[in-house]
Amino acid sequence: MTHLDTDVLAEFRAGLITGRRGARITAHLAGCDRCATLDDQLAGVSVLLASVPVPALPDRVAQRLDTALAAEVARRDDAERARGDGTAESPAPRRPRGNRGFRPLALRVLAPAAAVILLAAGGYGLSHAGLGSSSGSTASSAEGAAKSASSPTPPAARRANAPEAAPAGITGTIVLVPGGKDFSRAGLAQQVEAVLHAPAASTTRASGQLLGCVLGLAGGHPLQRVESIRFEGRPATLVVARTGADDTAWIVGPDCSATDPHVLAMTSLPSGISGP
């Protein structure tokens, strides 16, 4: 009898060869050290593979997924809102928000963003509230801020209430300042600084796509401003986030999304330019 082929032995081990042919292989293995060793080694392949640790999801991939999920939630909200009062797709009542411990990470990030952007509308002096925290414990405060985004509350009152207030209501929304100022590449930091010092006259709700774009850029850092601008004559969006020692400003194109930021220009600002 010749020795067993590896493929045949592997199929035998997997239970694919039975009956008389299987019995012949069993008999051969009992009397052939070489093939018995090969059989052991084949078993060892599975043991070895099972011993390789399951890789943990890297933080940056987790963050990316959270951002994409937040954009999907916002997109669905947009679609529902476009159909009516937001209940068209919901035969069952929505779960009251804020009464459970779990909340997707992206929404935790989103919440301070809503607070900060809202406050930015009130001017430079108000933009510190709610900064520097994106942990789960801030979810409720962010919810309050997000809720206030849809209320007629004056900016000063929003600032006072934003960090702690907050019964409920995260909506997957950030507020966009419809500025419209034309930026150029030369002296970009100074132009951004000037905008951040100027109070916003009005605000509007950002689209789901822009939401994903902004959260992807900020990467969990507190947002300072999202403003609709022009860049060298073309429509664009200014995004400013407090990214550590310096603040970072991005100018992105209209097709910016969670997966493709389409950054047209980028600059750093000295810490504190965009807030006290």
Partner: protein, 201 residues
């Protein structure tokens, strides 16, 4: 008594379909480590795996209403991730092999498994060996041997028969053996044989 898996996956999916903005996130977070492992092992490329996992997540989010409950929710999620991964493999089939930079990126990512000092060499060899397998064999072997799915569950995920899963796994193990035998300890050092040299009995 508190149950960390409560509410059940299927209930979370039902809530998501009904409009609950948080249910899908809770569901996906439960399973995403293993879903990541499936994508990463199947694609052997962290960037492609991240893309596939995101594509799959978005697809599951949007297609949740299509889930009929004929399998476990986790099986359904794994199937979407495997399909997204295999789609990417098909699309890149004509492209050249991974450059060195991607190899290094792969190791930098898989090293974040909380056990950086252990099994690094094994991972390197296993990752390199997995790339030698045809995608369908690799997907089956990853599910059964690396992630511990039963043959029946793997068959449900891969939408094929248990016999096909067994066959793919058997061929994959035979193909990997020459490349992994040296990692099997002293036994293989002293007694290893050259696989594939024999004939049918």
């Amino acid at each position: 008594m508190p149950d960390e898996d409560w509410p059940a996956d299927q209930e979370l999916l039902r809530r998501h379909v009904a409009g609950d903005a948080e249910a899908f996130g809770e569901l996906f977070r439960r399973h995403r480590d293993r879903l990541w492992a499936v994508a990463l092992r199947t694609l052997c490329d962290p960037e492609e795996a991240a893309d596939a996992l995101q594509d799959a997540m978005v697809s599951a989010f949007r297609r949740a209403a299509d889930f009929r409950g004929e399998s476990a929710v986790t099986t359904w999620l794994h199937r979407i991730v495997v399909n997204a991964s295999l789609d990417r493999l098909r699309r890149r089939a004509a492209r050249p092999a991974l450059p060195t930079g991607d190899e290094q990126a792969f190791e930098s990512l898989v090293a974040q498994d909380g056990d950086p000092a252990r099994a690094t060499d094994t991972r390197l060899d296993v990752n390199a060996a997995l790339r030698l397998l045809p995608p369908q064999q690799r997907a089956a072997l990853v599910l059964v041997d690396m992630l511990g799915f039963s043959v029946a569950d793997a068959a449900a995920i891969l939408d094929t028969s248990p016999g096909t899963v067994k066959s793919r796994c058997a061929r994959a193990r035979a193909r990997l053996l020459p490349h992994l035998a040296h990692l099997q300890g002293n036994r293989s050092d002293s007694q290893s044989v050259s696989p594939g040299q024999g004939g049918e009995t």
